[in-house]
Symmetry: C2
Subunit: 363 residues, 2 copies
């Protein structure tokens, strides 16, 4: 594993030792912990930190291997010795999102005021709040400036929000397959996914844990549907074609075609690692996200590199071009490249030709 | 209402007076009724009949007004005096699909063998079975040949199947936004919609009626998701933009953006008119549909006109081109036109410029 950061463990930082974490809405969280991992060494000048922002269903475990795990972190192909985020040069930090369910404070965390999980009382988050938690973690680690912040999809949105919120803290920003304003179609897919959860009879107004229940039916359907939008028609065609388990007139209503088994597996495995309330709380801030509207006069000193993929129909290139035009209009240094890739939105997790070099070259 | 066929009523024909209706699978239905409507007059030579095949959620009520109704039939803009399907020239027949829930025998009909609704025991259907019922209705009406058969989406698939099943019965076929083989992405969307129903705890293995229950959660989600694929990003953008009910930091997890209210309405109203088992039985035959494979050597005498819409991403133009190429390779007369329309797949129900003229001119 010479090209791997090797065995890693998730750590935790408490962000509320000097007072509650105040959210964009005015609500406050009395106790916030952030789960994070780091790869590589912080330089003596503390000037080589790269912050990685994860997407909707990611977590702090971006690279390396957990003890005994069967697979590495979700961005292990990008982060490691000699890789685009070269851990021989950079100190890479990755943290689970506020509102998440993988170690950072979220809806299933205990509310100190009641001694019980927040459940449906967890406050609604804004993209700015994800960044507030990231900022708190950086302060905790004693890092003033970032060499770079890097994120794909929702991760890229956090990077954009952060650069506008702290216009002098981030030297370089890489936004991959991100957006500065969702389309009604984007919102529609998220809304149906949330409706599948919110209207599941086992949701119990968000108190499903109290009922010993879980809106697993809705969460599974939400994930299956969303997954279709993360891939491309081309990649599904190449992978599954029209192949099925039965033949001739032996047919069934339930899963039969290979693409159906694949989606069933995606949905089932998601239930083992994700919480329904976190799904609601992490998706909703994207719909309301409007960073250029909420930071109308900010001119970040950050240089931006925007990347998008030609087969991504969830956040197609038009989203990146809109970000580019808004930044350029403010005089911010920005470039954009559309990368050829057959794998749709999920390309940001894969290695289509040229992609990793464009990240490496910029850093 | 001089351009309307006026007040109409749905009629019923029993197709099984001389014996059971035998399905492609070998199963048989002992009693089959078909709900249908007709518009215009059958000519003395009985040579002016046009059969309209409905799409997934359509019914026999294609044109005119039911007594006291607030809206006309679903294809009233196409069918009527002076319209593309001119009822002053043609005798138009429209029938609810076998397996449906709007008057034709389907899963909620009584099984004569048990005296109870079929429920989950309703046999799996093939596209050929939809056509078998149409053929039975034509025989019942004493019509040997069709001047034309016309259908959009699933309706177009029935027309294609019919022309291959009875290669000398249909003079002209109009297939709008149809397909001869679904892509894995098509199947994926349908599969998630069916999973929402099949895995709804209130589905009770299809015996929900016996339990006084209904998988309405799953059926609503299925419809909401499917609806996104019937429209286009462009039309959603034009209709809803980013508008929402709340403002500022007043946000919510539940529906807030106008596009969300719209989808909620689509889902809720669907529950009042559609049965979950019918949804399963009418969607599944599309996934298995492979008419050129199942009729390898048939050369219909039918002339075909294929129409598709440039914004349709559910059954984009590539599907129509595949049909055109397959028909042309057999020496069948066929033409195809892609029509500019912003409304996505649902364009077949609307009137983008040129569309109705292309139907009228062909008939």
């Amino acid at each position: 594993m010479t090209d791997s950061v090797g065995v890693v463990a998730t750590q935790r930082a408490v962000l509320t030792q000097r007072g509650p974490l105040v959210l964009a809405s005015g609500a406050a969280l009395a106790h916030v912990e952030v789960a994070y991992e780091t790869y590589g060494e912080l330089s003596p000048a503390r000037d080589n930190a790269v912050f990685v922002c994860h997407a909707l269903t990611g977590d702090a475990h971006a690279a390396g291997w957990h003890e005994g795990a069967r697979r590495p972190g979700w961005w292990d192909n990008l982060i490691g010795p000699g890789k685009a985020l070269d851990t021989e040069r950079f100190f890479v930090v990755s943290a689970n999102l506020l509102g998440g369910c993988s170690g950072t404070t979220g809806p299933q965390s205990v509310d100190p005021a009641t001694g019980r999980p927040y459940g449906p009382d967890f406050p609604l988050l804004d993209m700015a709040d994800f960044v507030t938690a990231h900022r708190g973690l950086l302060d905790h680690l004693g890092i003033d400036r970032l060499h770079a912040a890097v994120g794909g999809s929702l991760g890229g949105m956090q990077v954009l929000e952060w650069a506008l919120q702290e216009p002098d803290r981030i030297d370089r920003a890489v936004l991959v397959a991100a957006s500065s304003r969702l389309t009604p179609e984007n919102i529609a897919f998220s809304s149906v996914a949330r409706a599948a959860i919110l209207e599941d009879p086992d949701f119990h107004d968000g108190r499903y844990a109290d009922h010993g229940a879980s809106p697993s039916h809705g969460l599974k359907i939400a994930r299956m549907m969303a997954h279709i939008t993360y891939v491309s028609g081309t990649s599904l065609e190449a992978k599954f074609g029209h192949r099925r388990a039965t033949s001739g007139t032996d047919k069934r209503l339930g899963a039969d075609f290979e693409v159906e088994d694949y989606l069933q597996h995606q949905g089932e495995s998601f239930l083992r690692r994700f919480d329904a309330l976190s799904y609601l709380h992490l998706t909703r801030p994207m719909d309301y996200f409007d960073p250029f509207g909420s930071h109308p006069d900010v001119v970040p000193s950050t240089r931006f590199r925007l990347l998008s993929f030609d087969s991504d129909w969830r956040f197609p290139t038009a989203h990146s071009l809109r970000i580019r035009d808004q930044l350029a209009a403010r005089g911010v240094a920005v470039d954009h490249t559309e990368i050829a890739s057959p794998w749709g939105h999920d390309s940001f997790l894969l290695e289509p030709p040229g992609y990793h070099d464009l990240v490496r070259g910029f850093l």
